[in-house]
Every structure is written in structure tokens, then in C-alpha cells.
């Protein structure tokens, strides 16, 4: 069966709420019913048929041909099947995903992967601020799954991360791992100011020494631990990176001592990188 395909007719005049265009929400709907779904958010809201040409029938395999920074809440609540967006998306893409896969070929806005609990979300371009983080008033951020940004992530990556893996492969902004509760954040490239600020537990894994860590993170030497090799293998098995990130004896900072000091920043030693 051919994938259910939404082909963008023209750039939308208004922000669109695409939370209703997921496998579960579209199951059992006819093409006409899908075309009539309201997705606009202005006073004269657009329906699916105004913005997209719809083709195909397989709701478990959804493709958006063409993207826009005004596509909000793409893939909200996805729990099975796959979605692919050939272009950019707006804010809150992949919010509360618990299964399946969401692949974005362009860049994504703020709160991408907000509170996701499972599944796989991959972004080919950059992501905005609060990657995986909670919205205003929510107590926990991402609780599971794998979130990969092939480009650069913004500030506050992994805010209140509780479980799961976030990877930003071309660096990230300030305060990565802000208020992190547990889980793992992987960053290749430059990190901004004070990674791990207010971090309780969890691991920040960098491919280089952080340039501007919080003064409440203490250097802990180069522990000889099995975790780094195991995790390097996991990252390569999942096609997140294609060479070891940390190596056998990574450098370590422990912190945030302002909170409980139970978190860690592990980083690849540069001299080791050159000798590898």
C-alpha cells in the first residue's frame, strides 16, 4: 500500500497545528474526511485540503512532501508507524512520542521531542531551544526513546531529561542538561556555557573537554570505566555516530555540586583523539 502522502501546495499563511495527522488519529478516516480536518489556528482556519494534496492510503506510513517552520506539533503522540517530513517543521515536533519513528529532513523549532517517552526521532538539520524539554507548567521532560539532531541544538537541550538518549551531533547552545534528572545527552562539537547547570543525575557525554563548565563541576580525573566503551558501541549500533565518541579512558567532571553532585560530564581527551 502506498504511504499516505501530504504534498504541500503552498507555504501556509498561518501556523498549522498538525497534531491530528498521525497514524492513530487518521486510522479509519476517508480521504474526504482527512481533507476536511481543521489544521489552521487563525480566525479563518485552513483545513488539510486547503494546504495539502492528499494521496495514498497507508496511515502507518505518513510522508509530508514539503515543510514549513509553521508546521507545529508534527507527530504529537505518535506510538507506532513512521512519519517522514521532507522539509522544516515548527515547534513541538514529536511531542509525547511513545513509539514508532519520526524523521525530519529539515530543521525543527523549539521544544522538539518535548516529553517523548519512547520511539525514535531524528532531525537532519538543526533544532531549536528546549530539545526534549517540558512545556510551561510541566514537571518532567523526555522520559525515554532516542532523539538525534544531526545539526546543532539550541539552548537548554535536555531540560529536565528523565530517561532516554539525546544526541546533538554539531554542537549545542548554553545550559545543555539544565535541570536534568537522569538519562544521557551526547554532544559532538562545541557546547555552550554551563552544561549540566542544576543537574541532579545522569550523564553528559562530549567529544571534547567542555569550554565553559559551571564552577560547581569538579574534575574527577580519567576513570577507567567499562561504561564508555559499552556506550560507544551502543551509539554506533544505533547509527548515531560512526566512530567511538569517548574512547576507553574519558575525562570526567562530577556535579552539579550545587544540587547533589551525582551527575557526570564524560569527555574524550583531545590527545587521545589525535593518537586514535
Amino acid at each position: 500500500m502506498k504511504a499516505l502522502t501530504f504534498t504541500l501546495i503552498d507555504q501556509p499563511d498561518e501556523r498549522l497545528d498538525l497534531s491530528g495527522l498521525t497514524p492513530v488519529a487518521l486510522a479509519g478516516l476517508s480521504e474526504v474526511q482527512v481533507s476536511r480536518l481543521r489544521i489552521g489556528t487563525s480566525r479563518n482556519p485552513a483545513s488539510v485540503g486547503d494546504v495539502f494534496k492528499v494521496a495514498g492510503k497507508d496511515v502507518n506510513n505518513i510522508v509530508f512532501e514539503g515543510g514549513s517552520a509553521r508546521f507545529d506539533k508534527v507527530g504529537t503522540g505518535l506510538n507506532s508507524g513512521s512519519m517522514r517530513i521532507i522539509g522544516d517543521v515548527g515547534d513541538q515536533a514529536g511531542r509525547r512520542i511513545s513509539g514508532g519513528s519520526l524523521y525530519i529532513e529539515g530543521s525543527a523549532g523549539d521544544h522538539t521531542g518535548s516529553c517523548m517517552a519512547g520511539g525514535r526521532l531524528e532531525i537532519k538539520g538543526n533544532a531549536g531551544n528546549y530539545l526534549g524539554g517540558p512545556l510551561a507548567g510541566e514537571m518532567t521532560g523526555m522520559e525515554g526513546g532516542i532523539l538525534i539532531v544531526r545539526g546543532k541544538a539550541g539552548d537548554y537541550t535536555g531540560d529536565r531529561l528523565r530517561r532516554g538518549v539525546i544526541a546533538a551531533l554539531k554542537g549545542c547552545g548554553d545550559y545543555a542538561g539544565y535541570r536534568m534528572i537522569a538519562g544521557t545527552i551526547v554532544v559532538c562539537g562545541r557546547t555552550g556555557a554551563m552544561p549540566g547547570y542544576l543537574m541532579k543525575r545522569g550523564s553528559l557525554l562530549f567529544d571534547r573537554r567542555p569550554e565553559n563548565p559551571s564552577p560547581t563541576f569538579m574534575p574527577c580525573g580519567e576513570p577507567d570505566i567499562a561504561f564508555s566503551s559499552l556506550f560507544d558501541r551502543f551509539l554506533m549500533d544505533e547509527n548515531i555516530v560512526n566512530k567511538p565518541l569517548l574512547g576507553p579512558k574519558p575525562g570526567k567532571y562530577g556535579g552539579d555540586n550545587a544540587v547533589s553532585g551525582k551527575g557526570e560530564i564524560l569527555f574524550r581527551q583531545r590527545d587521545r583523539l589525535r593518537s586514535d
Binding site: N44, D72, D110, A136, M194, Y197, P215, N257, A258
Partner: protein, 365 residues
Amino acid sequence: MSVAWIGSQPVSLTDAIQNAVKLLASSRCPVFSLDTDVHGTRSAIALATILGGAYDHTMGRLLANEIALITDHGGMFTTPGEVRRRSSLIVLVGEVPVFHHELLQTWANSKPDLGDKHSRHWFHVAGAETNSLDSKLLRPMKAVPVGGENLSLNATLAVLRAQLQNRQTVSTLSNIDRFKSALTAAQFPVFVFSGGSVETAGLVMLQDLIADLNKKGRASSLFLPADDDAWGSALTSLWMTGFPPRTGFINSLPSYDPVRWDVQRMLREKEADLHVWVSTREGETSPKGGKARLISLSRTDAPTAGAMITIAVGKAGIDHDGVAYSSRIGTFGFVQAMAPSHLPSVSNIIRQLADALPGKKEFAC
């Protein structure tokens, strides 16, 4: 003297209202920027509800930083009266806006009459980016500086919190031992801060530090808004919709999203097609750029540049009586007109706009 203009032409108020209503009724995505008294804010939010628009304060970014502390974390707060009467240790954090200095100086000239009743001690926690407080303010207080070399305020607060728990840090702070002794001696230390000079992350660190102190004793914080009128608008918005500014209405239901309903961003990215600028603040002008049509309700004697319609309005406390937030009393208070004038109030004009809109919708104000 004219109070209404279409473009740059003076017109009667009735003509201006009718033309403004045509713009409002035909708008696809109207947005409101507010900076007015309680009644004006209530009216504007009620009109945004009818129109399915979005609203923000003109100082939306600053206000969002202060509000984020409440929506994302919470905290322990006390009132100015409690600080004056009970606190023998006051800790200033970052910069305190100039208009609050008089309040602080009255505390410097008094002693607490409840609690430990000792003379007051003052400390000032500052980062490398903090401008030193007005020396006139600090002199009578003899505030002891607490800070580290080249540390930002957020880093300073992190180090302070760690050192108060006797944990290791890479940097040290000046006068930390004096500060620890003062905290041990004081029955009710209070940290005074404003959202204007501390990022939300730093505010969260400060509140966690206060929570740590409350495990063994008693401590609190006093929030002094960066702008009283802006904070008054936030409280009024909470009362009207359950949410602070940066709220929009989809299907007549309010939704709060500080990114989605950032009115300046909406204008910049051409999502909004009509901008209603409501400001009674002296000298404040609507932002330039963007393609949205502009309706300006401002305290002016000339048409607003770039506005399709300008209506002059009065300011509560100057042109007419009103209600405004005062951080000095920690709540709303009556403000009497100092120089009553012919200028109509914002709520009066917005009611006329609502009444003239086609269709019968309840104006909930």
C-alpha cells in the same frame, strides 16, 4: 484638540472607531500589545477573546523571564511588609531596578520590630555582568559584596549554593564566611531579587538555595518586578484567563505558549495581519517593521507613525482615576488622577470598539 486620526488626518472619535472596527472584523490574526492599567488590560483581553486574537505585554520578553520562574519552578515568596518587620538579614541579588531603591532605603533606616529584632545586615550577591548598584543606595546599607572573580551571576549563585552545603567548587566567593555567619545568626533572611537582571536559570538556582535553607531554618525571597505595571498586567491576565500574557485564543479557549504567542515574533515573522498597540506609557512607541496594519491607542497628541488609526487615550493616575499594581504594598491599589484631562480611558475606547463590532458577542468585562 483632536484625539483621533486616520493616517495623519484628524477625524472624529466616531469615525476612528468605525474604521478601527472594520479592520478588527476583517483581520485573520489580530494581536494586541498591552501596557496599561488594570481596567484597560481587562478590556483589551476581553476584546482579544471575542476576536480570537493573541496578547502580550509590550515588555513581553522581560515579563516572560519573570513568569517562567513561576510556571517552570515556583518559589518561596514573602511580602515587603514582612521583610520590613521581620528580616534582620537582607540579601540583594543582582541589580534592583532604580524605582525600588526608595523602598530599600526605608528599610535601611529602620530595624525589624518582630522576630530577632537585631539591626539589619545587608549583603549583595553580584556577578561579573552586574552593574554595581547606585552607590547612593548601597552607602546607608553597608551591603557586603559576595561574588567571585569573572563569575556570571548564575555561576555565582551556583557556587554560593554549593558552598552553603559545604560542597567543593572550582571557584570561591568573597566574604563567604561572613555570609555564612550572618545566615546562621539570622532568624529570617530574605533574598531580594528582580527578574530584570537574573536569567530564569539563576532564579531557579536562587529558589533552590532558599529551599535548602528552609530545611534547617526559615528563609524567603522578595520578588520586586522589573516593572510594576507589567506585573500588574500579568496578574490581571491570570485573573481573566488563568494564564499570563503571551496567551492566544483558538476556538475562544485561551492557550498559553510563551513562544507561539510572542507578539513581537508574530509580527516579525508576518503571522499577524493586525497589530493593536495599547500603551499609556510616556514616550513609548510601537515597534517599526512588519507588514501588519496598526491601530494605536496611546497617550499622544499626534498620530502614531505608521498607524492606520490612532486614538489618544489617558493614563490612570494622571488623566483619570484607576487601579494599578504596586510592589511596595504587594498588591493592587487605587491611583487618583493627578491632572484630570479630556482624554478617554483605554477601557472606554475598547468598550466602544467591542460594542460596534458586527454580530452579538458578550463583552466579558
